[in-house]
């Protein structure tokens, strides 16, 4: 299974990548595989605040619906509007074009501590 080495992960199967002071958030390869065909993503509004561990959106797949949980707190500064017309991008490229939101972190150093590194996330999904 694909667990890129340069990302951090949550137990709820989101990933984040911190780049230029922003955290890009998506769901993992494992999560998209479990969900199956993604048919709709309920995205938050830009400017909305996200709180670590709380739902900021939902993801509808053919067989299931899942909440999206914020890996870290902060302000939603960008949403991936590609997903409005092509939600299946999440299935194809969960770590790339299928990213979901960008968050401007408010407390990154403290909140990054409970996140999982790639090895710990791999253990988590094989448990």
């Amino acid at each position: 299974m694909n667990v890129p080495g340069d990302l951090l992960y949550t137990k709820d199967h989101e990933w984040i990548k911190v780049e230029n002071g922003l955290a890009i958030v998506g769901i993992t390869e494992f999560a998209q595989g479990e969900l199956g065909d993604v048919v709709f993503v309920q995205l938050p509004s830009i400017g909305q605040s996200a709180k670590q561990g709380e739902a900021f959106g939902t993801i509808e797949a053919v067989k299931a619906v899942a909440d999206l949980y914020a890996p870290i707190s902060g302000e939603i500064v960008e949403v991936n509007t590609v997903l409005n017309d092509a939600p299946e991008t999440i299935n194809r490229e969960p770590y790339g074009a299928g990213w979901i939101v960008k968050i401007k972190p408010s407390n990154l150093d403290a909140e990054a501590k409970p996140l999982l590194n790639p090895a710990a996330y791999t253990d988590h999904t094989s448990a």
């Binding site: 199956g36 048919v39 939902t58 053919v62 619906v65």
Partner: protein, 361 residues
């Protein structure tokens, strides 16, 4: 967990395997949505060998099944298949099933999840000179479904498929293997179900996948089987019908022949009919981008709960949420506006005339 004769084929094709009714079954090969559309647009092949087959012999076989089920078995002609169900004395549905009439015996095809229950039930209501045999482990069952099903199958059999009408069957050979060739299915498309010996399953499965290449054939998992049948408003036992639902409220009045002299459940179902139904299974379309799922509450426009979704999905053909559920008769008219609370949020919905999909050929 039991394997079908094709489990290794599914694993080799990369299917996601789940347990279903005690069997390892493919839920999807790569995408439920793509597999669904493949069947709607050209053709697909399913392994449904988990289904159960009972053979009924003896001089009273028809009289017995006529009594044990709600439909008119006596009226069947050889080579005919009949959709039917059997009920408890209180009218609750034990299972829905297919009855096959052969010249010298009958075959009853039941849901895998109910196989043990059905076997005990049929034996408990048995009457007359009949013999029941559970032959489920001796049959593999393939469903070839889609507008090009006949184009593929005709290259593999000498049976004249044009002579097999919908809901009829012939005994013949497929690639030299004995087969019951049945023009039936659970998808709303033209197609065939092939009852074959287990040793014939792998060669016929592979040959169909090969012969179907000009039509982009794909193997189809149980996930798409469920969404295909739901677009047709075909009931799924355990979701839309069970021992707490009667055939009339489930919309199965068309198979329930109350004119029959006697059958198990008749007086209870008659009572329901005379008193008037309290609820009905309806087809519901959801507006918007949240999708109905089993057990989501159905509400009236004032937010009062009036029922529950029994089956729900996003229709790959309509790109809309579709659902089945029971609502009070007074609110069951086509066009009635409702709401379904999807993932905590009420979403506008309305009752529509089933099926959700009609094949264009």
């Amino acid at each position: 967990m039991k394997n079908t004769a094709l489990t290794a084929e599914h694993e080799a094709l990369g299917a996601k395997i789940v347990e279903f009714a005690g069997y390892k079954m493919p839920i999807q090969y790569h995408s439920i949505r793509a597999e669904h559309l493949r069947v709607r647009n050209t053709v697909g092949i399913f392994d449904v060998s988990h289904m159960g087959e009972f053979i009924v012999t003896g001089p009273d076989r028809e009289k017995f099944l006529h009594y044990a089920t709600v439909n008119d078995v006596i009226a069947m002609t050889p080579g005919q298949v009949q959709y039917n169900c059997m009920c408890k004395p209180d009218g609750g549905i034990v299972d829905d099933l297919l009855v096959y009439k052969f010249a010298d015996h009958m075959m009853v095809v039941v849901n895998a999840a109910n196989l043990d229950k059905d076997w005990k039930w049929l034996n408990s209501v048995v009457r007359g000179d009949v013999k029941l045999e559970n032959k489920s482990d001796d049959f593999s069952l393939l469903a070839l479904q889609g507008r090009h099903a006949a184009d593929i199958l005709k290259t593999m059999t000498r049976t004249d498929l044009t002579k097999i009408k919908y809901y009829h069957f012939e005994e013949g050979e497929v690639l030299g293997h004995k087969a019951i060739i049945s023009r039936t299915g659970y998808t709303g498309e033209d197609g065939f179900e092939l009852y074959i010996g287990n040793d014939a399953a792998v060669p016929i499965w592979r040959a169909i996948l090969e012969a179907g290449k000009p039509y982009q054939i794909e193997p189809i998992g149980l996930g798409a089987r469920d969404s295909l049948r739901l677009e047709m408003k075909m009931c799924l036992y355990g979701n839309d019908i069970d021992e707490t639902t009667n055939p009339l409220e489930a919309g199965l009045g068309w198979i329930t022949k109350l004119a029959k002299a006697d059958f198990v459940g008749k007086s209870a179902i008659e009572k329901v009919k005379n008193a008037g139904l309290t609820r009905k299974l309806v087809a519901i379309e959801v507006e918007g981008s949240a999708f109905p799922r089993q057990h989501y509450p159905i509400e009236d426009v004032n937010g009062n709960k009036i029922g529950e979704v029994t089956s729900g999905t996003v229709s790959p053909v309509l790109n809309k949420g579709i659902a089945l559920g029971y609502v009070p008769v007074a609110m069951s008219e086509i066009g009635t506006v409702l709401a379904i609370t999807c993932h905590g949020k009420p979403v506008p919905a309305k009752i529509v005339k089933p099926p959700f999909y009609q094949r264009p050929y």
